[in-house]
């Protein structure tokens, strides 16, 4: 099967059909004897069906082997001929193929996998395949524009249903790149590369697209980023990309080893070197020191995924990791290599993309706004400044605000230096991820493979545990490279998935409440094992599911019955829970580590030994586990305890004892991991299970990493929380967001109410809130739908939790900066979360939404903007098409600039958990914050845009003429620039209600008129 599938992945669809048919029929013939008894059995009740089934098998078989008969002569269903399109024409024939057991129809049933039958396991047994580690993208230094030479265009697909060939993609990915230099063509530009707007290049797939659409495209832009000033890279000169990364979203294909040479470790350092634990990437012959040959496959027993079933980064496995360091701005050129035909998607996922870096301090044009999507054949340049928040207010000078120097590649000369950078070191981030954010299609697109991990390195978290410079926290990592060692620092992306009877990835697009898979994957592998040394490890856990929450426990398996929790009856094994420390929450290193040892205080919440708190979709927990306490040969397991019945919310926790001893799973996956046979539904949630095994190996090195026990509350601090002054708190704008299926007529779909206004579903044109750059705000997140759990994500800026459910948050949130806020029925969630956050450095259009991505798509998502003080116009909304991106006017809620009408008064009680403000807003060098502010190079309030190198036309409305119907404001896009003197009065403009929006309307007309003229011509 593997071989055949491998061939298939290289074949055109037409051949694919044929080969598939032959395979199918061979299999059918082989299974004939098996079928007969069943047919006989069914005869009494359904003799027609049985007869038809036999006819179906007997009839066309010989012809098919000759390969010439049309495939549709084989009825897939016994009664297919009863009616075209269905076999009985009644309600009972619906969805047989996808949805044989429509679990939704089972009262109180378990809708897992959502609307589908159990995923077959093809005889695979758990924990017999090696876990894939993330493969590094490996950004390389960006060369000078003057050195760039023209090169061939992005390779185009042979037909609208396919992507470019695998070999063409691999050579394209590397053609402008050596391990030390990138010279991409076309060279990145500040404004989008759109020929209608000053750019130079067209979509290289233009002929294929025209042929598919059946109409001409005049100048379809090469880049899908919205054109013009509004979506130009902010502060491009200042944060000009130093490193570059070429990648693509593409159809599943075998890994050709294209990135082997770009790995920091070069498969030749530390545990990655020959003889190390991680030298062999897949743990099978042929993958030593390379990822070449790794298939897009969840387990070797399962079929290789169809090219259309998974769309991953590069189109390959392993999943990808982007290693970056602060102070080194990066440009990711993201190509869309998906099929031109939107139907070529295996039933789910849309071929237009928008990529969100969760939760980078990035300008809006590189944040992945849901309505800034791009098309097949296009690229989108995401430029991530990698600046510390507070860049504009904290000068360089504190070594804690720093970044590792030196070349991270294996074999580079030792350089363990630290370069100091601007910004607040307390804003240092560590574990991010980036993923698709396509309007209405985020859930299927991320599920389909559109997720990658991202590790930020800094002087504090430099990925070299040996560096003892008084700044480096020395988290477990390794020592072989100058920085960015991953020997003992492991990304784990955990997600649930389901596949159809053929083993191909399955997603139910008609699931309003959330999609549940029935099988747990770690780094896209089904129940793998992972070899570890007997020493400390850092694990960066990411919940990459669509709708499933986790609560993860770590246990050690012991022989005999001495363990605290027994194994299945008669198994002669038992288990002990293993304590560990959480060191980062949502990718941000906390002020103090939190021990999950069952003993420490966690502010009124239960601290349980070896068990993490709930982890919603998109939440990241970094933990440190010490395997030194275990003898080589010991096995440990990660276990998911949180049960779901459907995607609405987690049902509750299953006691660990019942999972381990087999009581919970009467006849499903644990411990035997047998699929549920011909059953209507699972009796239990099959994802409540052991899902990852650790195998301890001897360690001969010296563990130089920090002991997190020295960093718990009361002892040393890791990264203290950024503080807010009392003045900031007192003056903060308050905003209330209520997530629900609200009362009144907006009963469905999901809605968000802002600042006490009406409930709305998503509309990318509607600005629900505009925060002012440099301002602090207090946001109140509430849930008004008790039966649902909503994990809320705020883009751009992480926040501190003031209160959870009206009281102090637990220890692991008290010390944390978070970007995910769980609302819902769980005991560690609750119906409200109050947070404080501030907005700095960058402007534009951002999002806040439920990260149950099915809720997000349907349509619990709202837009908020960051504006300059005194800004009058609202950013227009991009409207991407094949032809190019136009803009439509945005509109705003009445409270968008003012927040809650009753401000802080609506917020009873004193804020809790605000760190002591005394002195914290002093700079670390002792300069008072406000003094420093006054000396900054640029007073942003006088500009409505950020183009320091080229202010261009000042983006202010001209004052309205006194009378007449033609009064209005000049457009900022293509309209006449405003009078320069207007800039001086920016903060004194009249109240927004009469002034905003008009400018962009005119601009859009200009754009459309141009397009129309062109289309006619």
């Amino acid at each position: 099967m593997t071989n055949i599938a491998h061939q298939l992945s290289e074949m055109s669809p037409r051949n694919f059909v044929r080969l598939r048919a032959r395979t199918v029929l061979t299999a059918a013939l082989a299974s004939l004897p098996m079928l007969l008894p069943l047919a006989a059995m069914a005869k009494d009740d359904d003799s027609i069906a049985a007869q038809n089934a036999l006819i179906a098998l007997e009839g066309p078989v010989p012809g098919i082997i000759a390969e010439e008969l049309p495939l549709d002569l084989i009825p897939k269903h016994p009664e297919e001929y009863a009616f075209e399109g269905g076999y009985t024409g009644t309600s009972s024939d619906a969805g047989e193929d996808i949805n044989l057991y429509n679990l939704r129809l089972v009262p109180d049933g378990r809708d897992i996998p959502t609307g589908a039958k159990p995923s077959p396991l093809f005889g695979a047994t758990p924990f017999d395949q090696q876990m894939l580690r993330f493969e590094e993208f490996g950004p390389v230094p960006l060369g000078a524009e003057t050195s760039v030479l023209p090169g061939p265009d992005f390779p185009s697909p042979p037909d609208p249903e396919s992507g470019p060939s695998s070999s063409a993609l691999d050579s394209f990915l590397n053609q402008f790149i050596t391990p030390s230099l990138a010279l991409p063509h076309p060279f990145p530009t500040r404004k989008a590369n759109d020929p209608d707007n000053g750019g130079s290049d067209e979509n290289p797939w233009k002929p294929q697209i025209e042929s598919f659409l059946g109409r001409p495209l005049v100048t379809p832009p090469a880049e899908g980023r919205p054109p013009g000033e509004d979506w130009a890279h902010q502060r491009f000169t200042e944060f000009f990309p130093k490193v570059y990364l070429n990648t693509l979203q593409g159809l599943a294909r075998p890994n050709g080893g294209a990135r082997d040479a770009l790995q920091f470790h070069q498969y030749n350092a530390g545990e990655w070197a020959p003889g190390g634990l991680y030298h062999n990437t897949a743990g099978v012959p042929g993958t030593a020191g390379t990822t070449a040959g790794i298939q897009v496959q969840f387990h070797r027993n399962f079929p290789v995924q169809d090219p259309l079933a998974l769309w991953t980064w590069d189109g390959t496995f392993p999943p990808k990791l982007l290693n970056v360091r602060y102070g080194e701005p990066l440009l990711m050129r993201h190509y869309n290599a998906l099929p031109i035909d939107p139907a070529a998607n295996f039933g789910f996922g849309l071929h237009t993309l928008s990529t969100h870096e969760h939760n980078g301090h990035n300008p809006a044009e590189s944040d992945g706004f849901t309505q800034a999507f791009f098309f097949p054949g296009q690229f989108y340049d995401y430029r991530w400044p990698l600046a510390l928040a507070g860049h504009d207010t904290f000068p360089a000078g504190d070594p804690k605000a720093g970044t590792p120097t030196g070349d991270p590649r294996a074999g580079a000369s030792p350089d363990l230096g630290n370069r100091m950078i601007q910004g607040d070191w307390r804003e240092t981030a560590s574990s991010h991820w980036f993923h698709d954010h396509m309007l209405d299609f985020t859930a299927p697109n991320v599920y389909k493979g559109g997720a990658a991990a991202m590790n930020y390195y800094s002087s504090i978290d430099r990925g070299n545990e040996a560096v003892d410079d008084g700044v480096n926290l020395r988290l477990p990592s390794g020592t072989a490279l100058n920085w960015g060692n991953r020997d003992y620092d492991v990304n784990l992306m955990i997600s649930d998935k389901a596949w159809d009877e053929d083993g191909q990835l399955f997603f139910n697009i008609f699931n309003p409440n959330g999609f549940m898979g029935d099988q747990m994957l770690t780094n896209y592998g089904w129940k793998p094992y992972f070899d570890v040394r007997a020493r400390r490890y850092r694990f960066r856990l990411l919940n990459g599911s669509v709708s499933r929450y986790f609560r993860i426990a770590l246990v050690e398996m012991v022989s005999g019955s001495d363990g605290e929790l027994s194994g299945p009856p008669g198994s002669n094994i038992s288990y002990n829970r293993v304590p560990f420390h959480m060191v980062a929450n949502d990718g941000n290193i906390m002020e103090h580590a939190v021990a999950f040892d069952g003993a420490s205080s966690v502010a009124g919440f239960e601290n349980r030994k070896g068990i993490l708190p709930s982890q919603a979709i998109g939440e990241r927990y970094d933990i440190v586990v010490d395997f030194a306490q275990f003898a080589p040969g010991t096995k440990l397991y990660m276990v998911n305890l949180l049960e779901h019945k459907n995607g609405k919310r987690p049902e509750g926790e299953i006691p660990l004892a019942q999972i381990l001893n087999g009581d919970y799973h009467e006849r499903s996956s644990e411990p035997a991991d047998q699929p549920v046979p011909d059953d209507q539904s699972y009796d239990s949630d099959p994802a409540v299970t052991r899902f990852l095994e650790f195998r301890v190996h001897a360690y001969s090195g010296t563990d130089q990493s920090m002991d997190p026990a020295n960093f718990v509350a009361g002892l040393q601090t890791m990264i203290p929380l950024p503080s807010f002054t009392q003045e900031e708190v007192d003056n903060a704008i308050h905003r209330t967001y209520e997530f629900g299926r609200s009362s009144g007529t907006d009963a469905d779909p999901f809605t968000i109410k802002t600042s006490g206004g009406s409930a709305f579903n998503a509309d990318p044109r509607r600005v629900s809130a505009s925060s002012t750059k440099s301002g602090a705000e207090i946001w109140h997140l509430k849930s008004s739908s008790g039966g649902y759990a909503h994990p809320i994500h705020v883009h751009f800026e992480e926040a501190q939790i003031l209160r959870r459910g009206g009281t102090a948050p637990p220890e692991w949130e008290k010390w944390a900066r978070k970007d995910m806020f769980r609302l819902g029925p769980l005991n560690d969630s609750g119906s409200s979360v109050d947070i404080i956050l501030r907005f700095r450095e960058f402007l534009g259009t951002f999002l806040e939404h439920c990260h149950n991505t099915q809720h997000e798509d349907h349509s619990m998502l709202m837009r908020w903007d960051i504006e300059n003080p005194g800004q009058v116009r609202v950013m227009p909304t991009p409207l991407p098409t094949w032809d190019g991106v136009g803009y439509v006017p945005s509109f705003a809620l009445p409270t968008f600039r003012t927040g809650d009408p009753d401000g802080a008064d609506g917020y009873a009680g004193d804020p809790l958990n605000v760190p002591d403000s005394s002195g914290l807003l002093m700079l670390s060098n002792g300069t008072p914050f406000r003094t420093f502010l006054a000396t900054q190079h640029e007073d942003h309030a006088t500009l409505l845009r950020w183009d320091f190198e080229n202010p261009g036309p000042v983006r202010l409305p001209t004052p309205p003429p006194a009378t007449g119907d033609d009064a209005g404001y000049a457009s900022s896009i293509g309209g006449s620039p405003a009078a320069p003197e207007a800039s001086a009065v920016a903060v004194n403009v009249p109240e927004p209600s009469t002034l905003m929006m008009l400018s962009s309307g005119a601009a859009f007309l200009t754009f459309l008129a141009a397009r129309r003229r062109r289309d006619r011509g």
């Binding site: 669809p13 299974s31 007529t745 005119a1002």
Partner: protein, 342 residues
């Protein structure tokens, strides 16, 4: 046991499918994965009396917009239906050619063919907009398959209001709120779902989309709840041919008693049922379309009235320097003879 034959057939099919061990290659395409094997081919009857099969005749290879209604609905169905009428008007003669609109009754007992035909006529349903009825079980199944219900409803009025729009051939399906801007809906149905093989509709319609300012709560409510049927000052919300489902509201705050107006917006079904003469006259004047209860709170009703009052003042007073600014930037896009609509 009723389910037995199905289960038996299912087992057989499962075995067949499993032993074939591969999807039809066609299953790789969204349209066939969400095709005849997924959608029930249940029989439905159109308001014109035609017998149709859901998959074969209603959605197969088509770009469609579907909603579920019942004609005796006291509250939001009329609004849903009016929104569909707006979409029909914007898409014009494409409806019935490459875009198909369907309203399926969830109350087959009361929504007889005659009732549906009358309803269709009242809402000016053109050739491509069909009202359908089927058995309760079949219609429930359709709702389930479209992801519109996941549990039993106590009451018809709790039914899911979403409009489902999709392209069966490509397998793209999305849910949309009936409160959404009709132009935006039409753009998605007419352009996006056609993969932009037709140039964007926005060329003509975004320019006249009404949301161009910082909207007051009253205006927001008016645009989402009222504007499908009502205008202020004769400016028509969607095009040149007013649908005329309800009276123009310019000056309504001056001519009607405030308390009557509040109550009429708050609970129109009761006012009508009491035989209120104004309500009865309106009902008859507008061809039996009753004012829907849009579920506004008392506070929201006042916001809407406040907005109406403000618009009356603004539109009847002589223009000041400030007022025209709001709409002038795109006033040239209005049709001749149409006053600005906001």
């Amino acid at each position: 046991m009723k389910a037995l034959p199905w289960v038996a057939a299912g087992c057989l099919a499962l075995l067949l499918a499993a032993s074939f061990a591969a999807p039809s290659a066609a299953g790789r395409r969204g349209g066939s994965r969400w095709g005849a094997d997924y959608f029930p081919n249940v029989p439905l009857t159109s308001h014109e009396g035609k017998e149709l099969r859901f998959f074969d005749d209603v959605i197969k290879d088509k770009v469609v917009a579907l909603n579920f209604i019942y004609t005796s609905c006291p509250d939001v169905c009329p609004l849903e239906t009016a929104r569909m009428a707006n979409v029909q008007q914007i898409l014009g003669d494409r409806v019935g050619k490459d875009v198909f609109l369907y309203s399926i009754s969830i109350d087959p007992e009361n929504d007889t063919l005659e009732v549906l035909a009358d309803y269709a006529k009242r809402y000016k349903a053109g050739p491509g907009w069909v009202f359908l009825r089927g058995t309760e079980d079949d219609v429930t199944l359709l709702q389930q398959k479209l992801g519109l219900i996941s549990e039993e409803l106590e009451d018809l009025s709790e039914h899911n209001l979403s409009m489902v729009i999709g392209n069966q051939k490509t397998g793209q399906w999305m849910k949309r709120s009936p409160f959404e801007n009709a132009h935006f809906l039409a753009e998605q149905i007419g352009s996006w779902l056609h993969n932009w093989s037709k140039p964007s509709l926005a060329a003509n319609n975004y320019a006249t989309a009404p949301e161009l300012r910082n909207l007051s709560d009253g205006e927001t409510l008016f645009r989402t709840r009222c504007a499908a049927c009502h205008t202020i000052g004769g400016g028509d919300v969607v095009g040149t041919d007013p649908l005329n489902f309800g009276p123009d509201l310019l000056g309504v705050t001056e001519t009607r008693d405030l308390r009557w107006l509040q109550r009429w917006i708050l609970e129109p079904e009761k006012v009508l049922a009491e035989g209120d003469p104004i309500a009865t006259e309106l009902f008859e004047r507008f061809g039996g379309i009753s004012m829907p209860n849009t579920g506004l709170s008392a506070e929201q009703v006042n916001s809407v009235i406040g907005f109406l009052r403000g618009e009356h003042q603004r539109l009847t007073e002589p223009r000041t320097a400030k007022a025209p600014v709001e709409h002038s930037a795109h006033s040239s896009e209005h049709g001749e003879g149409h006053p600005p609509h906001h």
